[in-house]
Symmetry: none
Subunit: 159 residues, 2 copies
DNA sequence: TATATGTTGACTTTTTTTGACCAAGGCGTA
DNA sequence: TACGCCTTGGTCAAAAAAAGTCAACATATA
């Protein structure tokens, strides 16, 4: 059984597919009605599935004739892509955040499944060595993970 | 006597066999119930039997409608290659040898160009940290390089 | 007997759903 | 123009439903 959030998120994705434009406009109230939920559920869907980190920008307006506009960010070229990716990894990244990022990048087709597997093996390797071999504190391991991830992503973006 | 962990692990493998898809989705709670154990036992099974090193990627979600998705990564043919690959990397490998090996693997179509690039970035990263950050002697760096490379290749070759 | 592997449960964190209350824009009317 | 009123969307917090972590304890294996 699939969550309502996923159903609504998938529906919005089909809107993009159907319109083959990089931007769609919708009414929060209508969507909530269509899926039989409270309006604020729509905000939750947008927050959790259509964030800038996931490649979307949102504009909205309240009042009569209000709307919600969802724009899909497309990377014009790899340079921009690289910068964006670099920003996604800050100066320190937890294991969980790294994993989430990898899932998102894989789902967006930026890395292949094989590449993700490879990266996860490598991150685990470094984590283990930092912990067991050098007894590094958690924060140091987070910054090292961020460094490694950044290097990997930057180099892949250029490839 | 067969441990519960083995029983559950085998069961998950049959799920893959039955569905002949490379990915299955399950509920931790349900599985724990089915085998009459605590939920965290499932985490142990996954950690010990379905790691990236063993060729699996796991994606999971907590909260309402949570799930655990296990993906089996299948790699380019090369069955006997797996053991062979491991032998290729001894207990210590120089930077040059590692590079030569990667070139050869790419030429034989066992890794893609991007994957080779990725691996080289990762090896360089580890080399630099070993040298600059921890002031490791050359031999130690060579063994660590071998360890990392072996892990990478074994996980990639895992069918 | 040591060490590695497996089992358990208490506690933590994350995700989803829901609803009450807040804020802003447009329109009609005094 | 100014003031309400209706229409929309936004925020926040609580509750519920999973899954994750960690460390203690147990069992198996070398």
């Amino acid at each position: 059984m699939s969550s309502l959030t996923k159903v609504i998120g998938d529906y919005i994705v089909t809107l993009f597919d159907d319109s083959d434009k990089s931007e769609i406009v919708l009414r929060r109230k209508d969507l909530a009605e269509k899926f039989g939920c409270v309006p604020s559920q729509i905000n939750y869907v947008l927050r959790s599935r259509f964030s800038p980190e996931q490649g979307f920008l949102i504009q909205s307006q309240r009042g009569g004739h209000g709307y919600i506009r969802i724009m899909q960010i497309r990377f014009a070229d790899c340079d921009e892509c690289a910068e964006h990716l670099e920003d996604l990894v800050g100066s320190a990244v937890s294991e969980q955040d790294a994993k989430r990022l990898m899932v998102s990048l894989q789902e967006r087709g930026i890395v292949t499944t094989r590449e993700r597997l490879l990266i996860e093996v490598v991150l685990r390797n470094q984590e283990e060595q930092g912990r067991v071999l050098f007894d590094l504190p958690p924060y140091k391991r987070d910054t090292m993970r961020a460094d490694l991830l950044r290097r990997i992503l930057v180099s892949l973006a250029m490839a």
